[in-house]
Symmetry: C2
Subunit: 328 residues, 2 copies
């Protein structure tokens, strides 16, 4: 991926992460491993994520007149909160790999992985605090929301969520930190209340578009690009946007068969094909794409209101286009 918004700040963010996670303890070296800065033996590695959230903080802050240095603690704080949540998420989902590497709990055990996430959270907020109480306060509120979303998601394991409940959950679980990226950029730059409201709308709509697009890719994504096979979320029984909408739209025998497939331990290729055909009949993909598009239009209006520089607007358009069709 070569989005301008991601390449511009990449090196700076990497340096910021290294310095935030410096230190001689075993636990801190585990954090550097998780962040992709080191391998299991503590040797330098280059396995970091794409830094979407911190890049957005820096982008928004600089567009609104702050300089990169001023915004960096907020950006790093947000990226570290994201990373803390991933460490604990991997324990909770029993995921064994992340970005092609063994997850922290598989290498150091669950107990140490709990400690690692705990410490990452504390370091994240310490970092943000260097940019002031307002920045730390916004980051903490987003962290709170994200964890509440995590808990709502857990609740759905035992019962079927409606699409509305699902969207409210995902708005917190993954939306909170994306919204915070925009808000933090505004706070760092000392934006007024009206600009901050616009940023919140922008963050909400982009976040929603991003998540639904991600869910669509879990079913219709091209494995070469997304890193998982087509129909992958159906195969592993993940109840994301397409599945929940399919449950809402399926009727009678269709619904019974759908329920029985999602109740099975082993899902066959035939099952996956049948579910995908059902989703086609009910135009699930189209509905999802239309929803993504409408959120992106909302983002466009918010962007118009922000009055970015031509170069900045260009970078954002590039990001929105990428979000609108991530499979390409």
């Amino acid at each position: 991926m070569s989005l301008g918004i991601l390449t511009t700040y990449r090196a700076g963010i990497q340096e910021g992460l290294k310095s935030a996670l410096a230190g001689g303890s075993r636990l801190r070296s585990i954090l550097r491993y998780h962040a992709g800065l080191e391998d299991e033996a503590g040797r330098p590695a280059d396995a970091t994520g794409k830094f979407l959230r911190p890049s957005l903080v820096l982008f928004v802050a600089t567009q609104l007149g702050a300089d990169v240095e001023q915004a960096m603690p907020a950006a790093i704080g947000l990226e570290l909160i994201h990373n803390f949540s991933l460490i604990h998420d991997d324990i909770q989902d029993a995921d064994r790999t992340r970005r092609g590497r063994p997850t922290v709990w598989t290498v150091w055990g669950t107990n140490e992985a709990i400690n690692a996430g705990d410490l990452m959270q504390a370091i994240a907020v310490s970092c943000a605090l260097r940019a002031g109480s307002d920045v730390a306060g916004v980051l903490l509120a987003a962290t709170d929301e994200m964890i509440e979303g995590q808990s709502l998601d857990l609740g759905f394991e035992s019962r079927q969520a409606t699409l509305d409940e699902y969207l409210r959950m995902i708005d917190r679980k993954t939306g909170a930190l994306l919204r915070a990226a925009f808000t933090l950029g505004g706070v760092v730059a000392g934006a007024d209340a009206s600009v901050r409201r616009t940023l919140l709308i922008l963050g909400s709509s982009i976040g929603r578009a991003f998540q639904i697009q991600d869910d669509l890719l879990g079913v219709w994504g091209d494995s070469g690009v997304v890193g998982k096979p087509c129909g992958s979320d159906i195969r592993c029984g993940k109840k994301s946007y397409p599945t929940i909408l399919a449950f809402e739209r399926a009727r009678d025998e269709e619904l019974s068969l759908l329920e029985s497939i999602y109740a099975r331990d082993e899902v066959t290729d035939e099952d996956v094909a049948w579910v995908m055909a059902l989703m086609d009949r009910h135009r699930i993909r189209e509905t999802g794409q239309e929803t993504v598009r409408s959120h992106l239009e909302e983002s466009e209006s918010a962007l118009d209101a922000l009055g970015l520089s031509p170069a900045g607007r260009n970078d954002m358009n590039e990001l929105l286009e990428y979000l609108a069709g991530r499979s390409k």
Copy 2:
């Protein structure tokens, strides 16, 4: 226990906790359960801890001229950090009960307990932040230290620690938050650098005394008072101060037998009696008590330097006496 320092602030702290943990989500009701404010069904309960740390924050702050309201966010923040660590600690140690009630993970599962601890940490810092960046910064630094101590402790599961390593570990794992109680009181009251240094010495020495005393009670405590049977820490193979010192002092066959007992899955009454006799021969309890006493003397000198009110000095003396002989 009816220590003045604990009774004075009890009601205020309980109110502060209730308000910090208010909210309609399931996760927040789990936090209120853990804090002892509610039962599993969300009905009011009275099962809180003794509030040692927040009481110390309020005591120190008011002794140095701040008012209780001003110091409350720091006190509540510290108590919540302590509670976050307990929720995760109970998962890590697979402890099924705490203060006579089922632990969070046994009631709501490990995944939700991880979320609960994560949220408690975020709420704790948000709370402290209301008293300013300095207060939040001190709390975060203490949290960082505590988690590093937790990680060091985990490392000792796979190898025998020396007494020195053990003391450095415990100084972080449990000492960090006790030291923070004193430091936070000073920060809230705007104490100068010299007073803050004295508070740090006071917190360190009291913390060390408190921990070693606690470890001694794990072996020689009266079950009616401490809530666990005499020799309890020997029976469950816990490597605390007395055990580590016993390992350092035992020689030849004595050491081999000691090692073989601690390697066993099931420890008999005879084993416990033999270990306690060995500890007697090596004057482990006396050494521990002398160490506690010397830390308490250090505390006395620090207290002299602080110049408390007569009533305040009286309260602290009562606390020190309690720490010096907690089994009584």
